[in-house]
Amino acid sequence: MIKLTGVVKRYRGRSVTANAVDGIDLDIPEGKLVTLLGPSGCGKTTTLRLIAGLERADSGVIEIGGQVVSDPARRIYVGPHRRPIGIVFQSYAIWPHMTVLQNVMFPLVASRPRTPKDKARPLAMAALDSVGLTEFADRPAPALSGGQQQRVALARALVRQPKVLLLDEPLSNLDKGLRGRMRDEIREVQQRLGITTVFVTHDQDEALAISDDVVVMNTGNVVERGLPQAIYTSPQDEFTARFLGLSNNLRGVVESAGRNGALVNCGKRSLLCRGLANAAPGDEVSLFMRPESFRLSRRRHSDDAWPGTVVFSIYHGDCWDYHVRVDEDVLKVRVYQEKIGLSHGDAVFLEPDADSTIVITGDRSATGSDQPAPDHAEV
C-alpha cells in the first residue's frame, strides 16, 4: 500500500553527514498497522511527514496505493491535499475557531471531489459516532479535554475514508491511564476498518502492543523490522536490544561451538548459548540479558552461578532492583520476591538464564539494517 524506495531527506543548515532520513526502503502492506519506533531525532516523524507530503523528499520514490506521489528524479510531487491520507498530530491540531463538527466536516467540504454539505453532515456525525463523541458535535473545539480532542482528530482523519492513516505520536500528550485506553481504541478502529496505518512512537510498550509490524529506526535508517514478539524476544541488532530495555550487556568470545549451541566466554565466566549453531570458535559476540532473567540467591545452587556483591538496591513495592558487581561488570537484576531484602555489600550468586539470553554476533551489529529474517538467533 505504501512503498518507499531509497528515500532521502536532508535538512539544510545541518551538517552534511547526518541526513534526517537516509535512504529508507519501506514497504507497508495493505490493512496493516506498522509502527516506526525509535528515539527522538531518529527520522521516524520525518518519514511519516514524507509519506503525508508535508515534507519534500530530496530523492527516492514514494508510492501510495500504487500511485507514485513523490519522485524528485522525475519531478513528481503530489501535495498533501491530493494524497489519500488522514493524519493525527501529536498536538491534535484541532482548529480552535471551529466547532467539533466543523472540524470533522472540514476534510469532506474542503477536499476534491467536494461533498455537498447536506451529505457531509451525516458522514461527519457517523465519524463522531465511531469515536463516541456525538453529543459534543456543537461544542467549540477548545472546550474539549485532551482525550476528547484526540478522538476528534481521529474522526477527522478517518472521515473521508482515506487509504492511509498516519499517526504522529498521538498518545504522548495524554496521561498514563488514558494512553492505554486510547491505544486500544485506535487499534480497534484500525482493525475494524482494515485501514493501512503508520504509527510513529518512541514508546516501546506502545509499539509492541499495537503493531502488526515494528520498524526500529535510528539516525535516519531502518535498523530492524519484524513482528512485535520477534523484535522483543530476539532483536538482531545491539541498538534494538538497548532501546528495548535490555540493560545488561556483556562482551564475549565463542569458546567452542557444537550442535547444542556455543559456549561463550565473558571474562572469567562462561555461558552455554543454544542455537548459536553457525558460530565458530573465536567469534566475538555481544550478550544481552534482561534484569528479570537472572536467578539471584545467597547460596550457590549450581556450578554455573556467578558470584557477586550487591552495590545498590531499590525497592519498588512489587519487586527489588539490585545492582550486582560481578568482577568488573555491574549487572542490573530485578527480583519479584519481596522477602529477599538484600542490602549493600551482601555476597550473592547470580544464575543467568541461558534461554532468554540474546546473542548478537559482532559483524551483524556492524552491518546495521541488512538483516535476514529473525528466526535463528533466539537461544
Binding site: 501535495g79 491535499h81 498536538s91 482548529w95 480552535p96 474542503a110 477548545p142 485532551g146 498516519l166
Partner: protein
Amino acid sequence: MALLVDETATAPAEAPPRRRDWRQLLDPRYLTLAVAALVVAYLALVPIGTMVYSSLRTNFLGLGPGTWTFRNYIDTFTSDGFGTLVLNSFVYAGATAIVCTVIGFLLAWLVARTNTPGKGFARVAALVPLIVPGILNTVAWSLLLSPQRGTANAGLRHLGLPAFNVFSLHGMIFVQSMHVVPIAYLMGVAAFASMDSSLEEASLASGASPWTTFRVITLRMARPAMLSAGLLMFIQTISTFEVPQLIGVPGRRFVFVSRIYSALQTFPPDYGTVGCIGIFVLVIAAVGLWMSRRMSATTAVQTITGKGFRATGQDIGKWRWAGFAFFVLFFLVAVALPILMLIWSSLLPGFQQPSAEALHQLTFSNYAEIFRRPGLVNSVKNSFITAVAAGVIVTVLAALVAYITVKTRLRGRGLLDGLATVPIAVPSVVMGVGILYWYLAAPLPFHLYGTLAILIVAFVTITLPYGMRYIVPGMAQIKDELEEAATASGAGWWQAFRRIFVPLLMPSLLAAFLYAMIVSFREVSAAIFLYSSGTEVVSIQIFDLFSNGSYPVVAALGVVLVLFLSILAGGVRLLTRRFGIRNG
C-alpha cells in the same frame, strides 16, 4: 497607604486580633514601596485628571473664578467643522491602520511561515523604520514628495507619471503607514510564530488546497491578532503629532492632534476646547486599547497548543519570488528612500535634486553647522539630560513596582500594576497637555514649567509601561527562594533587593533603561507642549528648524540622531538576545 498593608501579616489565625504595629509601616521596605506606588499613581492619574477638570470648567487658567460647566463640550461638539475634524481623523487613522496591518502581516507571514528567500534581510528592513524617529520620517517624506520640489516627484515626472501630493489625506496616510508598519509586523510575527503549523498541515492532509488552507485556517486564525494590531495602529496614529502637523496642516487637513495644537497656539488659548478634544481622543484610545487587549488575549490562549508544537516554513512554490519582490519593494520605499534622502540633503549646502552637478557640491559643512548653532548644541545637551534622567527614574520605578506586583502579596498590587500601564492608553498629546495644565494651574510650592524637569516628568510617564514590560517578565523568572535564602542569611529587605534582584535583573534593567532613552529621544507629541525657550530637546529643534526651512541642517542632525539611536537599539537587542528577555 492602603496599598501597603501586608495581607500575610494578618492572615495567621493564632495571631492576636488585628493589631498593626505602626512601626511596621516605617519599615524601609514599606516606605520605599509606598513612595514608588504613590509616584506611579501621581504620574498616571494627574494628567488625565487635569484634562477632565479643564474640560469641565469655565475660564480654566483664566484670571477670574471659574465654575463647573458642560459648555465646553457643547460648544466643541457643535462647532463648525467638528464633523469634518472627526471624519478626517477617523479616515486618517483608520486607513493607516488598515494599510499597515495588511503590509505588516503580509511581511510577517512571509518571514515567519514561508520559504521566501531573503528573510534575514526582510527582518532587519522591517525594523529599521522603528529606529528612525517619526519626525525624521515625516521630514524625509515631505522632502521626497512635496508637490513641486519633491525629489521622488521629480523622478515620477521624469517617468511620465503624475506627481504625488503628499500634503493631503492620502499623503498623511502613506507617510504614517511607512512609519508604523514595523509595529504591525512585530505583532504579526508574534501571532504567526505562536500558531502551531500542524493546524495548517491538518488542513492540507484533509485535502484542502494551499489557498483554501491560507484563507480558511491561516487568515482565520490570525484574524484576532490582525484586528488587535489594527486597533493599536489606529490609537498610535490618532494620537501622534508629527504627520498631522508637518504634512496635514500645509494641506489644510486638520485632525484632532493638529486641532489641539492650533487651539493652544491662538491667543488667548482655547483651553476648554483642547480639554474636550483631548478627552474625546483619550476615550477613543482607551476603548480601542481595551478591545485590542481582549482580542489578543483570546488568541494567545487558543493558538498555542501542546507539546508537539512546531512552526515551520511552508513551501509556497513560485510565489516565493513574488514574496521576495515584495521584500525588495518594501525595503526600497520604506527604508532606503527616506534614509538616502536624509543623507543626500545633509551633504548639500542647500536643498536640490540629485544630479551630477550637485555631486560636486557635496560638503560636510552641515554637520559642522550642528556644533556652531548654540541652540542646537543646547538641545542635544537637553535631550541627553532628559533621556538619561527619564531612563534612570523609569528603571528604578519599574523595578520597584514590578517587585510589588510580582513578588509580594500586598493588597492593591493589581491596581498598582494597572496604574503603571495606564499611560499606554493616554495619547502622548493628551499626556503633554495634561501635564502642561497641571503644572500651570496646580497650587504647587515649586514651578516646573519652563524647566527640563517637566519634560522628564512627561518622558517618565510615557515610558513607564515599556519599562514594566521589560522588567516584569525578568522579575517573574527569579525564583522566590533566592530572596528567601538571602533573608534567611540575615540580609534585610533592601539588601536582598540590591544584592539579589538588581544583579540578576541587570540585563532587563539595562534594556528598560536604553529603551526609555530611545523613546525619550524620539518623543515629540508631548514635548511640543512642554518645552519653552532654552529647554528645547533635539526632536523639537528638528521640528522648529524644519518649519523654518533649514532642511540641510535638519537632515544632518537627523543622520547623527539615527546613528546614535541605532547604537542604543543595537544595545537593547544584544541584551534581549543574550539574556533571553522576552519583551511582549
